[in-house]
């Protein structure tokens, strides 16, 4: 077992301090979105999310109409004097107030402002509500009567996403685990070349596969089924899976396996009884990545399943919620978080496999 945090001459404060800075940098953008998801659309568009923190700001305490006469030169107003340009910027009086010209020379007002603490910000759960339970639409029929009704909610899409993702993770993991073992520990002609080719295919942009695969699916009447998308995701994900798993499996200690061979174990026995348990961290790592990739995928699901309301996955639902032209993009603030919950849960669940360190002590570098 790796003996806990290693005590060394690098002080804890340096380590933890650096980590803290890194974590803050990582967290702040997401935190900004989190805060924004509780604000209304107009708030989000006009002020920064950090303004929800109580701060001192200029608050208008009284209003004075614009001065008469020539507005192009210096004017005296509310006890200060200045040109239109300077007044627009705001002139601070000696007693701590600010006089500001709001508007243009023709239409507007003079505001006298004081520094005050901002009140509690206006939080709303409306974004989450709209995303989770469906948006409310208002339709007027030809008699002028207004009808309101709700659009689709997320529950169905959520389940569909799960139904698409889980098998699309399991299948490549199983297939790639076998293949990685084969490449690492079995002898056959063309081993190295085949391996190199499989890994080289990592770089293929999956869009080039869409048309040929779809036409074959159409011929086999597979299109529109979940099986289609599971196979597609598996196919696209196997090169990375093999690459990662190979790296791990080939590093496993040879002597363990050779002694198993001496004991009369076949490849299959070695695979199931030794490799799988030892490779659990790598399998878990890859499973997480594939889960994330499939969960957040839009194009592959769209092409092979389509976006009819009853088979839509979460990404499609969220994309639609934004509106035809993106006029409701503020709903994405809530949508992104809702969509993140399950992948994060999966990550935390599989995290514990990372610390098993079963090999410690027996690995020769």
């Amino acid at each position: 077992m790796n003996s806990g945090p290693v005590r060394g001459r690098l002080p804890d404060i340096v380590i933890n301090g650096t980590l803290l800075i890194v974590c803050l940098l990582w967290l702040v953008p997401t935190f900004g979105l989190f805060v924004s998801s509780f604000r209304t659309r107009d708030d989000v568009l006009t002020t920064g999310w950090w303004t929800v923190v109580p701060h001192r700001e200029w608050v208008t305490t009284s209003t004075v109409p614009l001065p008469d006469g020539d507005r192009n030169g210096t004017m005296d107003v509310a006890g200060v004097s200045g040109t239109f340009a300077t007044l627009r910027q705001g002139v601070v009086t000696p007693d701590g107030k600010r006089v500001v010209w709001v508007g243009n020379k023709r239409l507007g007002r003079i505001e006298v402002q004081d520094q005050e603490w901002s009140g509690l910000p206006a939080f709303t759960l409306e974004n989450y509500f709209d995303v989770l339970t469906g948006k409310t639409y208002e339709i007027t029929d030809t008699d002028g009567v207004k009808h309101t009704f709700k659009g689709d909610n997320l529950a169905g899409a959520f389940l569909n996403s799960m139904a698409v993702t889980i098998p699309a993770v399991v299948i490549p993991v199983v297939i790639a685990a076998f293949a990685a073992y084969g490449f690492a520990w079995m002898r056959f002609p063309g081993r190295k070349t085949l391996f190199a080719v499989v890994v080289a295919l990592l770089v293929v942009p999956l869009q080039i596969a869409l048309v040929p695969v779809l036409s074959d699916y159409v011929r086999l009447q597979l299109n529109g089924t979940y099986l289609a998308v599971w196979l597609a995701h598996a196919g696209f994900g196997i090169p990375l899976a093999i690459y990662l798993l190979y790296n791990f499996i080939s590093a496993l200690p040879r002597d363990i396996m050779e002694s198993a061979v001496v004991d009369g174990a076949s490849h299959l026995a070695i695979f199931f009884r030794l490799i799988i348990p030892l490779a659990a961290p790598a399998l878990a790592s890859y499973a997480i990545f594939q889960f994330l990739w499939v969960w957040n995928d839009y194009l592959v699901a769209l092409i092979f399943i389509g976006s009819q309301p009853d088979v839509q996955v979460l990404t499609m639902r969220l994309a639609e919620i934004v509106g035809s032209r993106g006029d409701d993009w503020h709903l994405l603030t809530a949508g992104a978080f809702i969509s993140m919950t399950l992948p994060l849960a999966v990550f935390f669940t599989l995290q514990r496999y990372f610390v098993r360190g079963l090999l410690a002590g027996s690995v020769k570098s």
């Binding site: 006009t46 029929d141 030809t142 009808h147 659009g151 779809l214 639609e320 032209r325």
Partner: protein
């Protein structure tokens, strides 16, 4: 459409509409094409028509409401689905043989690209030219005719279902009137208004062209509007077809007019640099500040759904629009339009019925009542519009001396949704001068 709730609401509507439609149906029966009559008589009960398009959310709900009544009367189930990556999806499905029955193209240019595969049905095989001419003015029919198949024979492949008008300038009416500004009726008057506003200390225009991978399209709209106002429609058509080059004096002049506004920091809110980084949907927001920080915004009538929602802005009270004024009196009052055109992949009687139904203005009744679109069909009754804004826009369309479709939507993809957008963005963002940009667009025109 499988959503039970929407269907139930649709039945409610159907009941109220049957009375109206029945009468209207009887009066128009003589004009109706055969398949549509059969459908309304219930001959295609239980059949299914798959539809695909790029619109979603509120538009999709309005579309489904529209068709709910039709579905109730005919028993045809119209199943619509949408995609955010429309070009990639439709392209893939066409090439793989997995085409939907009917497809809504937001750009006829893309329809033209697909038409080349020869997979779009020739609509004149079941809708006579006379009937079509009775339903649409010639411009619409021309814009739906594309070279099809290997031999490139011009074929009528699309019907226009609903359109929007783009030559509109929006302004914050209440503040505008309070400030004493007057709505301009000629371009010179508008220039004077801009200078007046500038002298008063504000920037007159709000402009934003950011739009993800479609960034730059509002710039093309401006140039097209100005082209229509400074040169003849024939030149416009030649330009769209690639016969009049971008570097020609007519196009350059139009771009210069646009540049005289866009590149002048006193004219645009946030300066030129904010044009490229402001999303087109966020651009009109400063108009509704109190008092407004900018006063004019040129955009199609769909923009109303992007106005701030918190403040319950009333059309005609808080905001209004005026027609983008003409520049050269001899070019009359042209209208730049955009719209949705439906094309057909699979030829079955019920699919024909649906396409025929799209050609009649009364199919849009619910959508018109809810607002947000304009009907291109000739048999429109202005009273069907649910609000005065839409009615006003429809009037502009009806009174226009020339109607032309958004040019970039009609050009081949490389240009219309490619170099035209990108080069205009580069020019506005200052990384290229105008002549280079125009030259690059010309160079990108595909040679067959």
């Amino acid at each position: 459409m499988r959503n039970k709730r929407l269907f139930a609401a649709g039945v409610l509507l159907a009941g109220s509409m049957l009375a109206v439609a029945g009468y209207a149906g009887a009066a128009m029966a003589a004009d109706m094409p055969q398949e549509l009559q059969d459908a309304l008589a219930g001959k295609f009960k239980g059949t299914k028509v798959t539809a695909f398009g790029a619109f979603a959310d509120a538009d999709e709900v309005k579309f489904n409401q529209n068709v709910a009544d039709f579905e109730a009367k005919t028993g045809i189930d119209i199943q619509y689905e949408s995609s955010k990556q429309f070009e990639a999806t439709i392209s893939t499905r066409v090439d793989a043989g997995n085409t939907p029955d009917i497809v809504d193209f937001p750009q006829p240019g893309l329809m033209g690209n697909i038409a080349k595969t020869g997979k779009l049905i020739d609509l004149t095989t079941f809708m006579s030219q006379d009937y079509l001419k009775g339903q649409y003015i010639q411009s619409w029919l021309d814009m739906a005719t594309k070279p099809s198949g290997k031999d490139g024979k011009p074929t009528m492949v699309g019907v226009w279902e609903r359109v929007n008008v783009k030559s509109l300038v929006w302004y914050p009416k209440k503040a505008f009137d309070a400030a004493g500004y007057k709505v301009p009726t000629t371009w010179d008057e508008m220039t004077k208004l801009e200078q007046q506003i500038a002298a008063d200390g504000d920037t007159p225009w709000c402009i934003g062209i950011e739009s993800g991978d479609a960034t730059g399209w509002p710039a093309t709209d401006w140039i097209e509007d100005v082209m229509l106002r400074t040169t003849s429609p024939e030149n416009y058509d030649k330009w769209v077809l690639g016969q009049l080059k971008f570097s020609s004096p007519e196009v350059k002049h139009a771009a210069d007019v646009v540049g005289s506004i866009w590149l002048d920091p006193k004219m645009v809110y946030g300066g030129t640099k904010s044009i490229v980084s402001t999303s087109f949907g966020d651009a009109p927001a400063p108009m509704f500040a109190d008092p407004p920080k900018c006063w004019l915004h040129r955009q199609g009538n769909f923009i109303t759904s992007f106005f701030p929602k918190d403040r319950n802005l009333q059309p005609g009270v808080d905001y209004d629009f005026f027609y983008l004024p003409p520049i050269d009196a001899q070019e009359g009052r042209p209208a730049l339009v955009g719209g949705d055109v439906w094309a057909m992949f699979n030829d079955r009687p019920e699919v024909r019925a649906v396409m025929e139904w799209f050609t009649r203005a009364d199919h849009l009744k619910t959508w018109l009542a809810s607002g947000g679109t304009i009907a291109p069909q000739k048999d429109i009754d202005l009273s069907w519009y649910g609000n005065d804004i839409d009615r006003g826009v429809a009037k502009i369309l009806a009174e226009a001396t020339t109607v032309r479709f958004d040019g970039s939507d009609q050009m081949p993809g490389e240009v219309g949704t490619g170099s035209f957008w990108k080069e205009m963005t580069s020019w506005v963002s200052g990384s290229e001068d105008l002549d280079t940009a125009l030259k690059n667009i010309d160079a990108s025109w595909p040679t067959k």
